[in-house]
């Protein structure tokens, strides 16, 4: 029997507002425990939440970017549960009337196709603090710095069938958040956390199987692995005649397995009801159109533009628009070099490879877009062979100057002067009469192999700077005795 995997994703995106969603405390990662938590964040008696309008603006930006229906009126609700990192005993969230409803998002896949994802809803809520289990023996510490960090929880329909689709969606979402400037996208710091709802059904059937929810997976790689192991686990259970229990599970990256959370970690009845301390959010058309007109070019639009303006492949374009920094880098270099495809190849090839090796981000590249463009220009005008270009690139990486300066100081200019090359070819032919005779006696098929010897000799004489195509033409002509 073959199985189909059905998945829906819930992403918690931390919004990069200056202050918290309901208090004036700073919203930053990594401070000493509890120094970025004010009386509101600590849930002190008598304290009241005040909504940060920046968080609302970010949510509306996201809603517009996924072409969603924006709730003209949305309401906060209390989600009640006891836990030490939830200082009020409830989380302020949106349950009944979320701010963003019914959007859709087309995800570029590797083969150049677009995979459509339906977004059910996105709502604003506050993050919880953190329990610290390893700081004190036999005791648990509570750090409330994170309490009150604004979150946008983005929920999809059960549209995913493969881990590749899920990961592509998460990458596209990550990219979109960075374009909109609504999140720093730092996954290691928990800026984007994913819950995976996953079930199996017999291929071809319509209904849904019983699902499990894998909580709080915080890297693309772990999402992929968690889906793989959970699929396998459910398949084993079903094929051995068992049934899936609807439950919340955790992915353990070290053991590469999912396991059920203890029942006490799962609250069943959150007793949602409208938060009486906050007024409903009312947004009007004027507010929406002001935000709309200030939206940056979105990755999907930019991708289409790169394909049409620069004749890039879907795949290259999708890779290049991943972050605004990378896209700008490309566009600057492409315009200056006037050779966009070559530019794309160099960025996605040598530059990306070197950055990756050195564990650097494009924003930290020692080679600027302008410098790279200088190199591309010299490749395009045949000053540099691809082999020489790599040497120049190395010079750029070492910050030895512009491409032209490196060509000059390293003496890497390709010899394309026919006269100079002819002299060198003549000298090599004269110095190697035996090889010339052998060549001339050989059959045509074999001659092609023997010409390599002469190419090597001339390259050696020109210190590698002879233009290979030109050299080849000249040699064949001379050796054939004309």
């Amino acid at each position: 029997m073959s199985w189909e995997v059905v998945m829906g994703l819930e992403v918690h995106l931390q919004l990069a507002t200056n202050s918290k969603i309901f208090s004036g405390a700073a919203n930053q990662f990594g401070a000493e425990p509890n120094v970025q938590a004010c009386a509101v964040d600590l849930g002190m008696p008598g304290m009241l939440p005040v909504l940060n309008s920046e968080a609302v603006r970010y949510a509306v930006m996201f809603g517009l970017a996924i072409d969603a229906r924006l709730g003209k009126r949305s309401v906060f609700d209390r989600k009640n549960y006891f836990y030490p990192d939830s200082p009020k005993g409830y989380q302020i969230s949106q349950f009944f009337e979320p701010i963003v409803c019914e959007g859709h998002f087309d995800i570029p896949m590797e083969d150049g196709s677009l995979f459509p994802v339906r977004i059910t809803r996105a709502h604003l809520e506050e993050d919880a603090g953190k329990s610290v289990h390893d700081a004190y023996t036999g005791q648990t510490g509570v750090d409330l710095n994170r309490a009150g960090t604004p979150l946008l929880e983005i929920v999809t329909e059960p549209d995913f069938r493969t881990a590749a689709q899920a990961v592509a969606y998460l990458k596209a979402l990550h990219s979109l958040a960075i374009y909109l400037g609504i999140s720093d996208g730092n996954m290691a710091e928990g800026s984007m956390r994913c819950d995976i709802n996953i079930s199996l059904r017999a291929s071809g059937s319509e209904g849904f199987g019983t699902r499990t929810e894998i909580k709080n997976v915080n890297s693309f790689k772990f999402v992929e692995k968690a889906i793989a192991v959970e699929t396998e686990r459910q398949q084993d259970v079903l094929e051995s005649g068992g049934t899936i229990t609807q439950e919340t599970r955790l992915y353990d990256a070290e053991k590469n397995e999912t396991r059920a959370m203890r029942s006490k970690e799962v609250a069943n009845d959150y007793r949602y009801f409208p938060e009486p301390d906050l007024l409903p959010i009312i947004i009007d058309d004027e507010y929406i159109s002001a935000i709309k007109s200030a939206l940056p070019e979105l990755p999907s639009i930019k991708r289409e533009r790169f394909i049409s303006d620069y004749e890039l492949s879907h795949y290259d374009a999708a890779l290049l628009v991943d972050t605004p920094t990378l896209a700008n880098y490309f566009e600057t270099a492409a315009i200056q070099s006037k050779a966009p495809k070559l530019t794309a190849n160099w960025i996605l090839g040598d530059l990306a490879g070197t950055l990756n090796r050195e564990n650097l981000d494009i924003s930290q590249s020692p080679v600027s877009a302008e410098s790279l463009a200088g190199l591309i220009v010299r490749i395009a005008d045949d000053t540099l062979s691809s082999k020489l270009a790599k040497q120049v690139f190395e010079g750029l990486w070492q910050q030895e100057g512009t491409a032209d300066a490196i060509i000059e100081t390293r003496g890497l200019k390709q010899v394309t002067d026919t006269g100079a090359l002819e002299t060198m070819v003549d000298q090599v032919i004269e110095a190697n009469p035996d090889q010339v005779a052998q060549y001339r006696a050989a059959e045509e098929g074999k001659q092609k192999k023997l010409v390599g010897f002469f190419v090597g000799q001339v390259m050696k004489a020109s210190k590698g700077q002879a233009n290979p195509q030109l050299l080849n033409t000249l040699l064949v002509k001379k050796l054939n005795g004309s």
């Binding site: 849930g43 008696p45 304290m47």
Partner: protein, 492 residues
């Protein structure tokens, strides 16, 4: 001025005495402290006395009075209900849960009254977490009614009402979620105003039911209530539900006549639940207002009876989650040697909260539970809307609504302690006003067998001015508000 004439004077009278330097703020404050020291052991209205800081504040007030930079409340003593957070002064909500809680901040009401120059004498007793109508559920013991020490002062702001009635202070703050200012004001013979929801900031007031809670003045006269409300009111960036509306000059409008004013009389407020002696007092009071030119109009508030059920779903529901923060983790009572997290929660909360608080947490939790939400909480919200609409329709025919503030005079201590439903009925005439978010005023309307009875006036949304005008007119032509108890015995 004698000690008694000093401590029974109104804030308005005292203010003029302070300005003419007939008395000093320090003398006045000391007089209040002396009365409290003498009488509080019997009444138990004050649970924290800030003698030292009060005298320091009084000295500063005297300085401003001499400099001529004083306002109408400069140097006037004041007691805060112990539900208002006061910086560096214990704020307990009369609960074991918060017996050790000292907030590092002032409630907006406290800081505004401080800025107005009042002198904070201390904190008053109340029902635990403001849940009650008799001030019998306080962990600091019951407060007694100064008119009869064997009777309750009403609640939950019973400490404030008793303190003003006993001459401890001319001004007290209270909070009113279902009648907690007006019912004790009625039972202690003082003036108590619950402003429109949103008129006064809730920031720094320990929450009971967020959509109903409102702070207001408890005073000897309507004139004082106007002065105090002026200082308390206005939008607060820290409370999203505070109204961004201009605050009218409450004192300025007090002397306007009331001729032609239409007073609505809801028949539902004069049903068989009402003590006939109270009904008689209310009718006499209304006759006085008619003499002043007001006109009585019969109106209907058909959902009055459903108000109790509605209130006792919504208020406990909100309370059940507002009180979740008292978990023994960060502040407040924590049980000894918890064995586990669940044990920490269960024992800290079982030990820290009293019976009535626990009852309401359980009722509220139940009303919000999966499967019951629609039947209880959602239904209650729908009825709440109907109650609001009742008032809106009524105000098409009248300018204020009048009736009793409580179904009877003060009852003996313990009389209703074992019968929560009887206790809940104490608020039958007040809680609909909270559900509709309207302003309500209780003023003394005379005595029944030596115990005070209050006339309640209910106004349109944000129309406290009209209530105050009618109340002030009533106090100009009657002297019920001048009656004072003889402590420990019968009234004079």
């Amino acid at each position: 001025m004698t000690l008694e004439s000093l401590t029974y004077a109104s804030a308005t009278e005292l203010s003029s005495g302070l300005r003419t330097a007939e008395i000093s703020a320090v003398e006045l404050t000391q007089a209040c402290i002396d009365v409290i020291a003498k009488q509080n052991p019997a009444v138990n209205a004050v649970i924290t006395l800030c003698q030292e800081s009060a005298l320091t504040e009084a000295k500063a007030a005297d300085l401003r009075l001499r400099e001529g930079s004083a306002g109408p409340l400069t140097g006037i003593p004041l007691l805060h209900k112990d539900i208002f957070c006061t910086r560096n002064v214990a704020t307990t909500c009369a609960s074991k849960m918060l017996a050790n809680f000292i907030p590092p901040y002032d409630a907006t009401v406290v800081s505004r009254l401080r800025a107005a120059g009042t002198v904070m004498l201390g904190k008053t007793n109340m029902d635990e977490f403001a849940m009650g109508s008799s001030t019998e559920t306080s962990v600091f013991g019951v407060t007694r009614n100064p008119w009869d020490l064997n009777c309750v002062p009403g609640g939950s702001s019973g400490g404030a009402a008793a303190a003003v009635a006993a001459g401890f202070t001319p001004l007290g703050t209270g909070t009113d979620t279902g009648g907690s200012i007006r019912q004790p004001a009625s039972l202690c013979g003082i003036t108590g105003l619950k402003p429109t929801y949103g008129r006064v900031s809730r920031l720094g007031i320990i929450a009971f039911a967020s959509s109903l809670d409102q702070a207001g003045p408890m005073t000897r006269t309507v004139e004082d209530a106007a002065l105090m409300l002026q200082a308390m009111s206005g939008v607060d960036a820290g409370d999203s539900t505070s109204a961004d509306l201009e605050v009218p000059d409450f004192s300025g409008g007090l002397n306007q006549p009331i001729s032609g004013l239409r007073i609505g009389i809801p028949k539902e407020y004069f049903s068989q639940n009402l003590d006939q002696r109270v009904a008689d007092k209310i009718h006499q009071a209304l006759d006085e207002l008619v003499k002043e030119g007001a006109e009585l109009v019969d109106i209907d508030l058909p959902h009055t009876e459903q108000g109790i059920a509605t209130y006792y779903i919504i208020a406990p529901a909100e309370a059940s989650t507002n009180l979740s923060r008292y978990d023994g983790v960060r502040f407040g009572h924590r049980c000894e040697s918890p064995l586990s997290l669940t044990d920490l929660y269960e024992r800290s909360r079982s030990e820290g909260f009293g019976e009535e608080v626990q009852r309401r947490i359980l009722v509220g939790t139940y009303a919000l539970s999966a499967g019951f939400y629609d039947a209880y909480f959602k239904k209650a919200q729908q009825v709440r809307r109907l109650i609001s609409e009742d008032f809106q329709k009524a105000f098409e025919h009248c300018d204020v609504i009048a009736g009793p503030a409580a179904p009877g005079p003060a009852f003996p201590l313990g009389a209703k302690s074992d019968d929560p439903l009887a206790m809940y009925l104490e608020d039958v005439y007040t809680l609909s006003v909270n559900l509709a978010g309207l302003p309500g005023l209780s003023i003394p309307a005379g005595l029944v067998d030596g115990m005070p009875v209050g006339l309640q006036l209910i106004g349109r949304s944000f129309d406290e001015a009209t209530l105050l005008r009618v109340g002030h007119r009533f106090q100009l032509c009657t002297d019920h508000h001048h009656a004072k108890p003889v402590l420990g015995g019968a009234s004079q």
